[in-house]
């Protein structure tokens, strides 16, 4: 599930979901639905569009990188010094959809982010732990 490679440290979550890709796509891209399972947001399904995900603990600045309706979606995920990318991939299966999310954190070419890491990771960890505590 977790992998450590030369270039990136990623979190990958995959799940078989008994719903068609088109329906999952709506949940991944319509703001009122995104709010129900992730965070409040002003998402727009347009490449280069910036949006913000916000929780009680703070917010995540995002920008749409790639979008292919019903198939894949990726956006940057920047929060308190963390520069990362979230990529969703939807693959139809006989039972519904194979949904894959890859959240990659460390990139060799994101030097700016690393400079912010000293402060950023600390804040990000603390905030994330608060969120996780509430979510349990």
């Amino acid at each position: 599930m977790n992998k450590l490679s030369t270039e990136t440290l990623s979190v990958v979550v995959e799940r078989e979901i008994p719903h068609p890709p088109e329906k999952i796509w709506r949940a991944l891209t319509q703001p009122h639905l995104i709010e129900e399972w992730l965070m409040k947001n002003d998402f727009k399904p347009v490449v280069k569009q910036r949006f913000t995900l916000s929780g009680d603990w703070g917010s995540v600045d995002c920008q749409v990188l790639e979008i292919e309706p019903n198939k894949s979606l990726s956006y940057t995920w920047a929060a308190m010094g963390l520069e990362s990318v979230v990529t969703w991939t939807l693959t139809p299966t006989s039972a519904g959809t194979h949904l894959r999310m890859e959240h990659s954190g460390f990139h060799a070419d994101q030097q700016q982010a690393y400079k912010g890491a000293q402060y950023g990771w600390q804040k990000f960890f603390a905030s994330m732990e608060e969120v996780l505590a509430r979510m349990d």
Binding site: M1, N2, L4, T6, L9, S10, V11, V13, R15, I17, H19, K23, I24, R26, A27, L28, L33, E36, W37, L38, L99, M101, H103, G105, F106, A108, Q111, Y114, A117, Q118, W121, Q122, F125, A126, M128, E129, V131, L132, M135
Partner: protein
């Protein structure tokens, strides 16, 4: 988060340092000279990188005669594994809520 974590993350953020650490993980204990031969940077630069890795707890040095041997400390990676575990829990939880939402969308 303790400062040790900051040192770990910033130590691994540099690609040259990460490559040196990975080489020690894969090939075991080595001298500065052996590392420098393949790192593509000067010996002082390799020594500096090793110093930062050592401060972060990622490598250990063992003097032997005039040579110093360096080895990787894999247990120092634990905070990274913790981070990915936390992020995994965050997203697993998101998936759970997404599934609940998808069920409700049918009704």
């Amino acid at each position: 988060m303790p400062n040790a974590h900051d040192a770990l993350f910033s130590a691994l953020a540099d690609p040259t340092r990460r490559a040196i650490f990975e080489r020690l993980c894969r090939e075991g204990e080595q001298t500065v000279g052996a590392l420098q031969a393949r790192a593509g940077v000067s010996q002082p630069a390799v020594s500096k990188h090793l110093g930062i890795l050592k401060d972060a707890g990622l490598v250990r040095d063992r003097p032997e005669g005039r040579q110093t041997h360096y080895s990787a400390q894999l247990n120092a990676l634990a905070p990274l594994a913790d981070w990915t575990n936390q992020m995994t829990r965050f997203w697993q939880n998101g998936f759970d809520r997404l599934e609940d939402l998808l069920k409700r969308m049918d009704q």
